[in-house]
Symmetry: C2
Subunit: 371 residues, 2 copies
């Protein structure tokens, strides 16, 4: 089958890597000529935000999917009209692309998400009490397009454009749950993952899976995933990012309509990974079992501050000596501060052992450049 | 790093698939334009048995390795002279390519292998008692070039060319052990795998790992791997195929200087697979941990008799519904009787459960053609 992917980054690369155990042909579209997918797929250099480019890319494929949500949804809708299968469908991509539509979606389907107000322009009166979060309607990614307005002084920083203004949740834990639904309506939910900030080192977050949760919290998450999967009306794999507040209530922060960083430890930690599941969704195959085999965790390998150029992974040989420790690099030759270059997955028999290993590994490696 | 592989078949494909989590460039050489590696590596169509072709292919690589042993070893030796790293080295490839040299290697290093006699031409007198096995010196592969001479009538079928004539072992079990050694001299041994014939169905063999063995048998295998790894004097990953005879003695049948069918279940059954280990050997990295996670087994997907043409995998959707069951196809579009098209790995909590699952899965699938 000819499978087209909008985006040729690491998510696409790991999807293709996983799916090499089947017999499909993968095509990718990305503006960067050296995108991580360029040499493992039939690669087209081009802009996935451009209507004509996406239409041309998709028209001879059996199915078109995404590994990034900031794509031209109009072109995807047109492809659907022309009979090309699009996973997830253009409508849900468009809903999730726009924070305003996304919030309205949660509201319409009774999915708990922080109280919000929409502002369209600079004249709108703000009724949300301080502090609150402002999320730009479009263009947000990896924390961009999001800011916290803490006090009246901060009002001057308010973006005067279409955005969502949202009640600031008093967060106890940040959680994520990856759900999948195929065209036949089968669904599957991965074990819940926690994104843990390391309190001592104040460095990057780790993913930890599974998480010990009270029965009540588990029930809340179960209801959220059930409502989401019933409402979504599209095949797809979705990462639902959640806040657990200090009073024990679960809120949906936002949803990604694609493979997600919070699911990377599933590569070795679960009976099947998010990448295998995504493949099955795209092909409308029976969904995979996704039980946690043991405790698993992930840390991102991010370009260190002050280094740009040809990447060097300092300390990697020592990491390779550790049992049940798995390095995943993304085939990017150039690093720059903050760039996601890879990740490391770790397995352990307990959460305590896992956290110790994650902190240790984090201290062993640095992503620098040779110049 | 530029890694060249002689051969572009499924073993190379799964090696590259596994190594996509690192940042190397893979180059493959294979006579078939649609070889399994052709679209996931920088592919050269050519004959890996041809001196000039191999020399040209290898000269600009950082390291050259193999996924099939029937390659031009003279060219590899010349590449070594020119300073290109060859893994495993040309000398051990040449030794293993020729059954006579292979048997002399075992004898020289006190590695138990069935008693043998070399015959060079039709005049040589045979002193080996009947029944015996004849193995052609070169060109044997997947059971070709091997025959059993049972009685005096069979003498007429004897191949009149350079070959080894070997005592026929009264086999209790066929075992395999995959060992690895890197350039730094680090070594690793995978858990022992049994190749089990299914007595009821008389179909293909399964791999089952790990195997319950007496302490004495374990000790014999340990000594064989230790002697082999000390003698081999080359980095490499090797599959040592063993016979356990009915008196409890272990014999080396033969060795492959490469990735091997008997190690496929390590993809999901072990903390790291033979493919990850091979990658580490090729790059002289610390060797990986290879413990068995649970019971694992494999069955080959082989083209059914009577079918040739565009492949159809009958029953595969039902297999996808089974938990802890992993399909691996090789990207071959055309099937023919007996062609290895893929394999299925299965995990289970006990050997009994594993055998049941393997027999069940075997009964569910058929590799046929659409014409």
């Amino acid at each position: 089958m000819k499978i087209g992917i909008l985006g040729g980054g690491q998510l696409g690369r790991m999807l293709i890597q996983s799916a090499l155990k089947y017999d499909d042909e993968f095509y990718t579209l990305d503006p960067a000529s050296d995108a991580p997918c360029h040499n493992i797929s039939y690669f087209t250099q081009g802009n996935f935000n451009d209507y004509e480019t996406v239409l041309n890319f998709g028209k001879d494929k059996d199915v078109v999917t995404i590994e990034i949500e900031h794509v031209n949804a109009d072109a995807l809708a047109e492809l659907e009209k022309q009979g090309i299968k699009v996973v997830p469908n253009a409508s849900i991509i468009r809903t999730i692309q726009q924070k305003i539509l996304q919030k309205e979606f949660y509201k319409a389907h009774d999915i708990p998400s922080p109280e919000f107000q929409v502002i369209w322009n600079s004249d709108d009166r703000i009724i949300m009490s301080l502090p609150f979060v402002q999320k730009m309607n479009t263009g947000g990614y990896d924390g961009k397009g999001v800011q916290v307005i803490k006090n009246e002084d901060d009002y001057q920083h308010l973006w005067k454009e279409a955005s969502v203004i949202e009640h600031l949740v008093d967060i106890d834990k940040e959680l994520s749950v990856i759900v999948a639904r195929n065209e036949n309506g089968e669904t599957n939910t991965f074990p819940v993952t926690e994104m843990v900030a390391d309190p001592k080192l104040n460095l990057l977050d780790f993913n930890v899976c599974p998480v010990l949760l009270t029965e009540d919290v588990q029930r809340q998450i179960y209801l959220i995933t059930e409502k989401f999967l019933a409402a979504v009306n599209s095949p797809g794999l979705f990462a639902i990012e959640l806040f657990l507040d200090k009073e024990g209530k679960v809120w949906v922060n936002e949803t990604a309509p694609r493979l997600h960083n919070s699911g990377h430890q599933s590569q070795e930690g679960n009976t099947n990974s998010q990448f295998e599941q995504m493949y099955r969704v795209v092909k409308n195959l029976p969904l995979a079992d996704t039980d946690a085999i043991t405790y698993s965790g992930m840390l991102n390998l991010v370009g260190a501050e002050g280094y740009a150029g040809k990447v060097i992974y300092e300390g990697m040989e020592e990491v390779l000596r550790l049992p049940e420790t798995y390095i995943h690099l993304y085939g990017k030759t150039e690093t720059k501060p903050g760039r996601k270059m890879g990740h490391i997955n770790v397995l352990a028999d307990s959460r305590e052992e896992l956290m110790e290993k994650l902190v240790m590994v984090k201290g062993m490696v640095r992503v620098i450049a040779d110049s």
